[in-house]
């Protein structure tokens, strides 16, 4: 306790340049000492926090494979970004870094009239995420009889100039973030599982819709419920319940059988625990039953994630999303390069081509 108070007082006394203050606040929870230590480890030199060189650009490049644009839009993104448990996300998170760069680049392309950027036109909501999901499906003419897949949701967003990216975020707890206001965009974790992609994207759409609720925990719950009901329309409940009952008959292998049948039925576009959540929302399962199934399904999948599986459906179930760069965004950058407005190197910066080689990937 004494040490905590002591170091907090020390931080208050020390003068720190505004750009570093924002950087340290977002990524190091205000702990300057922690940042100084990591800077020395990565760069090999001490940082002058009062009057820094542009060396923090080198730090950002080595750590995340990003350019100086990360720093230039940092303050702006800090006010806009929303995601699951975003206060926890702030600590040392690449999601903020990528979001900051994406925001900057979208603004640059918008200024050059090379890209239109927008926000979601479906904004009004009731306080019932199940009804909101149905209205969303109607509003955008989505599928009522089948899974609304990641590709479908992504096309809806991108037809409205809301771009969907995926980068390798530095924690598996943080699966996605959204900037809900124009230029709106979503960033998913490239390390998340591909069958979970539809739920994650639908969940971020939920954050756009429920961003004015004013309570983080409520926004989170609503976004989860909205997402489940958006990607799994009600007519599919019977099929899922039938699979559930079939799995119950096989007592020793029920979780494996349920996972397999759900994956085969829906081409691995949803994870089995999302199907279980849908049953729970439709009161086919009690809360303890749902939690028990959820726990065991996740435990089973983690076992297969680390194994070298050869079976087709299992491999699909543990496949990762991978890095995604939206086509329109990529084309806009190619065009601005063809027009001679940016160099080859700048084009690579804007396409995040260094991301794979950064420290956080090692």
């Amino acid at each position: 306790m004494f040490f905590y108070v002591g170091s907090a007082m020390e931080n208050l006394r020390r003068e720190i340049h505004p750009i570093l203050k924002t950087f340290v606040d977002i990524f190091y929870n205000g702990e300057v000492g922690k940042f100084e230590k990591e800077y020395k480890k990565v760069i090999g030199k001490e940082v002058n926090v009062r009057n820094p060189s542009a060396g923090i650009v080198v730090f950002v490049r080595k750590k995340w494979g990003l350019s100086s644009d990360t720093l230039l839009e940092l303050e702006s993104i800090a006010k806009r970004l929303r995601n699951k448990r975003f206060k926890q996300l702030k600590r040392n998170s690449s999601a903020y870094a990528y979001a900051s760069s994406v925001l900057r680049f979208l603004k640059i392309l918008e200024n050059e009239d090379l890209l239109r950027v927008s926000e979601l036109d479906f904004r009004t909501h009731s306080c019932d995420p199940v009804q909101d999901a149905k209205r969303f499906i109607e509003f955008y003419g989505l599928n009522k009889q089948d899974i609304n897949t990641f590709s479908t949701l992504r096309s809806i967003l991108e037809s409205r100039d809301i771009y969907v990216f995926a980068f390798p975020l530095d924690s598996n707890h943080h699966e996605g973030v959204v900037n809900p206001e124009s230029p709106a965009f979503v960033i998913l974790n490239a390390n998340a599982l591909r069958p979970r992609a539809s739920f994650l994207l639908a969940h971020e759409i939920g954050h756009i819709i429920y961003r004015d609720l004013g309570k983080e925990s409520l926004e989170e719950r609503f976004s989860n419920k909205f997402a489940t009901n958006l990607i799994i329309p009600d007519p599919l409940v019977d099929a899922i319940y039938s699979i559930f009952k079939q799995s119950l008959r096989n007592h020793s292998n029920r979780y494996f059988l349920f996972s397999k049948l759900i994956c085969l039925e829906f081409s691995c576009e949803i994870l089995p625990e999302t199907a279980i959540m849908k049953l729970f929302y439709h009161e086919k399962l009690s809360y303890p039953e749902m939690k028990n199934w959820e726990k065991n399904l996740i435990k089973l999948r983690k076992k297969y994630q680390s194994a070298n599986v050869k079976v087709g459906w299992l491999r699909k179930m543990v496949e990762k999303i991978g890095i995604i760069t939206p086509d329109k965004y990529r084309k806009a950058i190619e065009l601005v390069h063809e027009q001679g407005k940016i160099s080859e190197k700048r084009k690579k910066e804007m396409l995040f081509e260094r991301v794979k080689h950064a420290l956080c990937m090692h």
Binding site: S53, A54, G55, V58, S68, V336, K341, S343, R346, E349
Partner: protein, 173 residues
């Protein structure tokens, strides 16, 4: 001291055309009061092959203020170009002389906007080949490759410029 800040685009345009000898001469041809400056991340490997004493800089060698100001003013230029331009500006503020060479028109435009030019245009003998090339690149908005072609023409034709070249800009300086 004259700091000649050379963007890696210059090398990337020399090398594919096979102008290695010209490039080596270009690098060697500098008097003592000139310092070649390069952006470390991009040209370190190129220099291993070519030799030549470069001062290799990174963003750590320039202030955040200068860097940020240029980056906000010219969002289209990359970090390496911004770093070299920042260095050139800061050296000028310190009272030294600096110029910036790039085969990228946008980066050269930014340099021109910031008033970074070859400082001593009266004496084309300063730096020899480098002097003419720097002058031509900065004053005439030519790429280093085009400047080299003009220089070769002059070398092969008793210092006569190409017929379609306008010499008035050299004389007026």
């Amino acid at each position: 001291m004259l700091y000649v800040c050379i963007d890696s685009t210059v090398f990337k345009n020399f090398l594919p055309l096979g102008y290695i000898k010209e490039l080596e001469k270009f690098l060697e041809c500098l008097p003592e009061n000139c310092q070649k400056v390069g952006y470390k991340e991009e040209i370190e490997e190129i220099l291993i092959e070519l030799g030549g004493s470069f001062l290799l800089i990174t963003e750590e060698d320039v202030s955040w203020e200068t860097f940020e100001s240029l980056k906000n003013k010219y969002p289209g230029i990359d970090d390496g170009e911004t770093c070299l331009l920042s260095f050139a500006l800061e050296k000028k503020d310190e009272g030294a002389n600096a110029c910036f060479m790039s085969d990228d028109k946008k980066a050269r435009g930014a340099g021109r906007e910031e008033g970074i030019l070859f400082c001593c245009v009266k004496n084309l003998k300063v730096g020899g080949t480098l002097g003419i090339l720097s002058f031509l690149v900065n004053q005439q908005d030519l790429s280093a490759r085009d400047a080299l072609l003009i220089h070769r023409h002059m070398r092969d034709n008793n210092n006569h410029l190409p017929e379609d070249y306008n010499p008035t800009k050299i004389e007026s300086c």
